[in-house]
């Protein structure tokens, strides 16, 4: 058995496909591509797939991850081509890597995520919000109420925000990948983007929307429903080397886009 991790994008109308339906979608893709997928044992064998971190419905992404199990080791490039040839437009395999047999599931490894948020038309805060938000995020203490399974807890968001900027779309450059540009044909080049690099995963998870929500509350404004358009740039796992701890995209085995924090 060989474990494989795929990196894929989710763009355009398929952003409204829910997490479970996306899982079913990939099961069909694997059958259409006739890849040597491993099925579980038992009377009703099924494909063993798992996503790194479910994306909320309506959000787009250039950095989603899916782990799957195969019977034999594939040629990574051929696998990507094979899957993309039967893929629906809007979902595209961007990268893949073969994992160590003992590696943990993507879901348990997620440690950080890079996000871009924009306001939907008519739902922006009052003009001049960009400077106010910069000043807000510069503060040392950013209290927020976080809903947990056990109830509500007050947290400080500040240590969970690793990097943050407010920048025009045309000037946005990826935090971990300096080649990364935010492409979305439906958005104006000058639209203000809230660009965050935050803690993610099961422990210390920070929903990027929480930053905006608390900011607006402090400004005395109520955030409207669906005010934020959410885009994930990438998802990261944590590593450590002689230079210190870093975050790295989940299929970036060569460490091309390491970011030290």
């Amino acid at each position: 058995m060989v474990k494989v991790r795929l990196k894929f994008s989710k763009r355009g109308p398929v952003r409204f496909i829910g997490h479970l339906d996306l899982m079913r979608y990939f099961q069909k893709v694997n059958r259409r591509a006739e890849i040597d997928i491993k099925y579980s044992e038992g009377f009703s064998p099924h494909q063993v797939l798992s996503f790194a971190e479910p994306l909320s419905v309506g959000a787009t992404s250039d950095g989603e991850y899916l782990d799957l199990q195969m019977n034999s080791e594939p040629d990574v490039k051929a696998l990507i081509d094979q899957m993309n040839s039967v893929m629906n437009e809007g979902v595209e395999i961007l990268d893949a890597c073969i994992l160590d047999e003992n590696s943990e599931k993507a879901m348990t490894l997620v440690d950080a995520a890079e996000w871009i948020m924009t306001f939907r038309e008519g739902k922006e805060p009052q003009a001049g919000w960009e400077d106010k938000l910069r000043a807000y995020m510069d503060k040392d203490n950013l209290p927020a109420i976080k809903k947990t399974k056990r109830g509500e807890a007050e947290i400080n968001m500040k240590p969970l925000i690793f990097k943050a900027e407010v920048v025009a779309k045309k000037n946005l450059v990826g935090f971990s990948d300096p080649e990364y540009r935010f492409i979305d044909n439906n958005l104006d080049d000058n639209i203000s983007c809230i660009h965050l690099f935050v803690s993610s995963g099961s422990a210390d998870h920070l929903k990027p929307g929480m930053v905006v929500e608390n900011f607006m509350r402090e400004c005395g404004e109520e955030m409207q429903p669906n005010a934020i358009r959410l885009h994930r740039v990438d998802t990261f796992l944590k590593g450590e080397d002689e230079k210190g701890t870093y975050e790295v995209p989940m299929t970036d085995t060569e460490g091309k886009h390491k970011i030290y924090l």
């Binding site: 109308p13 398929v14 409204f16 339906d21 079913r24 259409r32 419905v57 309506g58 809007g90 358009r229």
Partner: protein, 633 residues
């Protein structure tokens, strides 16, 4: 990728299942408008998950899009939450692929699968901004509204809303219709003249070109063309060679789970059984098979192009498909290696089918199904359902030996000449099957389990083009009384604890009965009920029986006229203008034979002279045999 969406993010994020409205599914077809002369919006007037399960649309969608000059897109009824949002925000109904308004299309086609979708047709027209009636649609400013499918075999209750009904199998004459349309648009022919010309294409019924005259008692005096040169009757046309007919190799695969979330492989059309209550058994005659070689090729392609994990064989009676053993042999090999499941719709229960079922299903989870339809042998003879008690007990015995312990029975209540003894027979046969289990499986082999029998009854609705089209239908209170008797009958049995009983709601069946054999006078009732808020009548939670009854009263329409009468032998029916290939004299003969509780032979054993031989294909042309082809379930 078509990035355009007709609905805003705000709307899509606050409605249930946004995936119903965004298109872009695998195998959906997008074309360049520059190359397209005809835009066809194909609608199943119910919610997306139901509509996406329908084979007919997939066939015609694939066929239309195989024409370079035609772009066919799909439309479904917006669910009730979206319906409200679209009205509130004045958003016109759109087709899924282009997300463009349906109003701007050349054709809007409806598939009419059941009577209780009629108000949803009006919903679709309304949300599209298309006038409800053909009479109001006088120029080319809105699409030609065309209907097909089983309900077009009595389209009169919805005749006002349609420009054309297509009678017969869609593969045959759409190309001719499209050519005529393109020619008429090019040379400036009026919409009315286009419809008159279309009336001469086989199978095209243009209801506005026929005048109905009524007798004083409300029955029909005559139906005649109002334009010279158009046919006085419209004859069903069928595919003569299914092996070479278009079959979609790339059906659209939805993102969300549709009701039929699997590949559908149609193995044959038509049925040799002449069950007297069954409309499909008459409409799709004669039985025509596809060769197993063609089916095998299609199955492989479909698996490759869809990625589905299940394939289902589709027909009215799969056990009558003569090449079934070869086909299943192939599928078992092909599917087993690919982890694809095979689903077998109700097969005749015998050693062959049990053997196959044990290979493709988990015996512990699956159940046997007997569509006995009536509880006593006498009544099964009345309805010409060939299955005997001996068949059922022998099949059960074999199945219990094979490890099954769940049995499902389907019955109908309200067949013509049903007596209390017939109803009592339902409990009796269920009890005998339970007893058969205890006799067959010794206690030490039951592994702590026991037999589980589920009996379900639905209410019989007489349909056009069946021998029972003359029969009266029970009123809802009579139905409920019969259900109560059935229940009491089951509860009086020794093994009653092993039998579960379910029955259907009666009021919706009554409305179905009104529409099934209704006439044009009902058009205004359907429109009025829609205006009063009736929609999604097939969905129990939205069905408003009181509003319907109030509407009939308001318009002076007696609904019982359509359901409760025993129609005289010589009555002219609203659907007599159509010819489904089976003659009225044959149906009448069968109606009389049923009164004597006598059965008629199936098409494989003897030709009963129904009239379908005129097509010169299929079972009609094969030599008759004495072979016992068993019964249909």
């Amino acid at each position: 990728m078509n990035e355009k969406l007709a609905l805003s993010d705000d709307i899509l994020l606050s409605c249930s299942k946004p995936e119903r409205y965004i298109g872009n599914e695998v195998n959906s077809v997008t074309k360049d408008l520059k190359d397209v002369k005809i835009r066809f919006a194909f609608c199943f007037p119910d919610v997306y998950e139901i509509g996406m399960s329908h084979l007919g649309i997939q066939i015609l969608y694939g066929m239309f899009n195989s024409y370079d000059d035609v772009w066919c897109e799909r439309v479904y009824s917006p669910w009730t939450d979206m319906d409200q949002v679209m009205r509130d925000n004045k958003i016109p109904l759109f087709a899924l692929e282009s997300q463009d308004p349906v109003h701007d299309f050349d054709f809007l086609g409806f598939t009419l699968q059941y009577e209780l979708c009629y108000t949803n047709i009006l919903q679709v027209l309304d949300l599209s901004g298309i006038p409800f009636t053909s009479a109001e649609r006088t120029d080319w400013s809105c699409p030609i509204v065309i209907g097909g499918g089983p309900c077009t075999y009595n389209p009169e209750p919805i005749a006002d809303f349609f420009d054309i009904f297509y009678i017969g199998e869609g593969e045959n004459h759409y190309r001719t219709l499209f050519d005529l349309y393109e020619q008429c648009k090019a040379d400036g022919t009026s919409r009315k003249d286009f419809l008159i010309k279309a009336a001469s294409i086989p199978g095209m019924y243009i209801p506005s070109l026929y005048e109905v005259k009524y007798k004083e008692d409300g029955t029909i005096e005559s139906m005649n063309p109002t334009v010279e040169g158009i046919p006085s009757h419209i004859t069903k046309d069928i595919v003569t060679d299914l092996d070479h007919a278009f079959y979609p190799s790339k059906p659209v695969v939805p993102f969300i789970k549709a009701t039929q979330d699997r590949i559908v492989l149609e193995v044959m059309r038509g049925c040799i059984r002449g069950c007297r209550f069954c409309q499909a058994g008459q409409l799709y005659r004669p039985k025509r098979e596809k060769s197993h070689e063609v089916l095998e090729k299609q199955a492989v392609e479909l698996l490759k192009n869809t990625g589905y994990e299940e394939i289902s064989l589709s027909s009215l009676s799969t056990s009558d498909y003569e090449q079934l053993p070869q086909l299943l042999d192939f599928l078992l090999k092909e599917c087993g290696s690919k982890h694809v499941n095979i689903s077998l719709p109700s097969l005749r229960i015998d050693n062959f089918s049990l053997d196959v079922m044990s290979k493709v299903q988990d015996i512990k989870k699956s159940s046997l199904t007997f569509a006995a339809e009536a509880g006593s042998q006498r009544l099964r003879d009345v309805i010409n359902k060939g299955v005997t008690e001996e068949d059922i007990l022998r099949g059960s015995h074999e199945a219990f030996l094979g490890g099954w312990n769940k049995v499902k029975f389907y019955f109908m209540l309200g067949h013509p000449w049903e007596t209390d003894e017939d109803i009592a027979g339902i409990g009796e046969i269920c009890n005998k099957v339970a007893a058969e289990y205890f006799d067959t499986v010794p206690k030490e082999k039951r592994n702590g389990q026991s037999v589980e029998i589920t009996a379900s009854t639905s209410f019989f609705v007489p349909k056009p083009f069946t021998p029972f089209q003359w029969a009266p239908m029970c009123k809802p209170e009579e139905f409920l009384e019969k259900a109560a008797k059935t229940k009491a009958g089951i509860r009086s049995q020794i093994n009653q604890k092993r039998i579960k009983y379910n029955w259907h709601e009666a009021n919706a069946s009554m409305l179905e009965g009104v529409f099934a054999r209704g006439d044009r006078k009902l058009c205004k009732a359907i429109l009025r009920a829609y205006e009063k808020g009736c929609i999604y009548d097939a969905w129990g939670e939205y069905f408003k029986y009181d509003v319907w009854m109030e509407t009939f009263e308001e318009l002076g329409i007696d609904p019982w006229f359509y359901v409760s009468r025993t129609r005289p032998d010589d009555e002219i029916f609203p659907w007599d203008i159509l010819d489904c290939g089976v003659t009225k004299s044959f149906l009448l003969r069968e109606w009389h034979t049923s009164q004597e509780a006598k059965i008629s032979k199936n098409c494989a054993n003897q030709c009963m002279g129904c009239g379908a031989k005129q097509y010169g294909v299929g079972i009609c042309m094969e030599p008759k045999t004495d072979k016992n082809v068993g019964y249909a379930v």
